[in-house]
């Protein structure tokens, strides 16, 4: 496991603690960062805006970027390190992996447009006792886009890959899980297609950020508008994209709780890819 960071303090504190837990941990100065970072590398940044973060992700072919947010930095590093070592944890636990002492949890299964209203009522029920309006707005936006990815995009991507067996036709379902403690809310959506091309997803995000959402909007081609990836990322502090090709895709968004709109906007984002 390799960590690359430009922050000198990082090297004196965190790697020592990690090397006591993990068998192989090393830390490197950002200047010595190779052109392409492998799956076991974590790029540690500080104060990077989403557009630049995605650009870096694309250029370096990263799998993990974590930013130094004071409140959650060490916890973010620990969670990411565990997933690098044991990626199956992510697919087994999904949203629950990210919340240490859950105070509330709800899930809904779905596989058709007729399920959408029930899914939305489920998520609205979950958040109705949460005080901050900004959380309500973000949960609604993320649930909308995760639903469309699972019900509309996943089957279409599978078909484009030449896979014509459709799990939904055979009764399999996608599953949306929401879980929270007093610090954060995690939303995971699992679909049984495993057709997410995570590198294509990241390239699409880069295109939207670089060209602008209006210029890159898919108006004419069949399928989605192509903005959901960025909409979700804008509404969360961390996003995890996981795929077991041909079997399962799990996308998770983490929303910090107890913050105002402006405070949330100041939290710098993390992004992780997981594929097994």
């Amino acid at each position: 496991m390799k960590f690359f960071s430009a922050d000198p303090q990082f090297f004196s504190e965190v790697p020592m603690r990690f090397s006591q837990i993990y068998s192989s941990v090393s830390a490197y100065d950002l200047a010595s960062c190779p052109e392409v970072l492998g799956r076991e590398s974590v790029l540690v940044l500080n104060g990077t805006e989403p557009k630049e973060l995605i650009s870096t992700f694309t250029q370096k072919k990263c799998w993990n970027i974590i930013q130094k947010n004071d409140e959650t930095f060490v916890s973010d590093l620990e969670k990411a390190a565990r997933l690098i070592e044991k990626p199956q944890l992510y697919f087994d636990a999904q949203a629950e992996y990210f919340v240490s002492e859950p105070q509330d949890m709800i899930f809904a299964e779905f596989n058709a447009p007729t399920d959408k209203e029930r899914l939305k009522k489920t998520s609205e029920k979950f958040i109705e006792n949460l005080k901050n309006q900004n959380v309500h707005e973000s949960v609604n936006c993320i649930v909308e886009e995760l639903y469309m990815n699972a019900v509309l995009d996943a089957p279409r991507e599978a078909q484009q890959m030449g896979r014509f067996e459709h799990p939904y036709v055979h009764g399999q379902k996608a599953k949306m899980t929401l879980v929270r403690d007093d610090q954060a809310l995690a939303i995971s959506c699992m679909d049984p297609y495993g057709s997410l091309n995570i590198q294509k997803f990241i390239r699409r995000m880069d295109e939207v950020y670089q060209k602008g959402a209006g210029e890159s909007l898919n108006i004419k081609r069949p399928g989605g508008a192509g903005l959901g990836c960025v909409i979700m990322f804008e509404h969360c502090s961390s996003m995890f994209l996981g795929v077991v090709p041909g079997k399962m895709t799990v996308v998770t968004c983490i929303i910090p709780l107890g913050l105002s709109y402006r405070q949330r906007a100041e939290v710098k984002k993390n992004l992780h890819l997981i594929e097994i």
């Binding site: 900004n134 959402a213 209006g214 105002s260 709109y261 402006r262 906007a265 100041e266």
Partner: protein
């Protein structure tokens, strides 16, 4: 009302449109073309949510107004976010006449949306927020946005 409601008053060439509810992949703007309008006034205070497919349908629909001046009224934050993020969501002939700004008091956690109106709280190039915004308990509230981002559409 179902998921959404669209009302278009075409009694005069100055079309008056109200959109309420959820703007998503199920919205059908086909029956509400704005073609022929001399101007369009769009009331958006009752829009509850909009997703990426809804954004696409909106842009296609608002394009039917052609070069007619379009005015957006009472834009909730979710609409302001799209105006700022998606070029074309507010057409080239469009203007925001009023929009909501979230305010927040950190101590009490109270939240409030305050309507900013063109000519009063904002102009073509500047924002003039109210002198003081207070919650129901009299606590002073602060503007709860990153101003450079939220007011981006004004500074353009």
């Amino acid at each position: 009302m179902g998921k959404y409601e669209i009302k278009v008053d075409k009694a005069t060439p100055q079309y008056k449109v109200t959109i309420s509810g959820v703007v998503d992949e199920d919205i059908d703007f086909n029956a509400y073309s704005l073609s022929g309008a001399a101007s369009v006034d769009l009331q958006l205070g009752m829009v509850k949510s909009i997703n990426s497919c809804g954004i696409r349908e909106w842009i296609k629909w608002i394009g039917t107004a052609g070069t007619a001046p379009v005015k957006y009224h009472q834009c909730p934050k979710i609409i302001v976010d799209q105006i700022n993020m998606v070029q074309g969501f507010l057409p080239a002939s469009g203007k925001v006449m009023s929009f909501y700004v979230p305010y927040y008091n950190e101590d009490s956690g109270s939240e409030k949306n305050v309507l900013f109106t063109y000519g009063k709280e904002f102009t073509d190039s500047a924002v003039n927020p109210p002198a003081a915004v207070k919650d129901d308990e009299g606590n002073v509230m602060e503007m709860d946005v990153v101003e450079a981002k939220y007011f981006k559409f004004i500074k353009k």
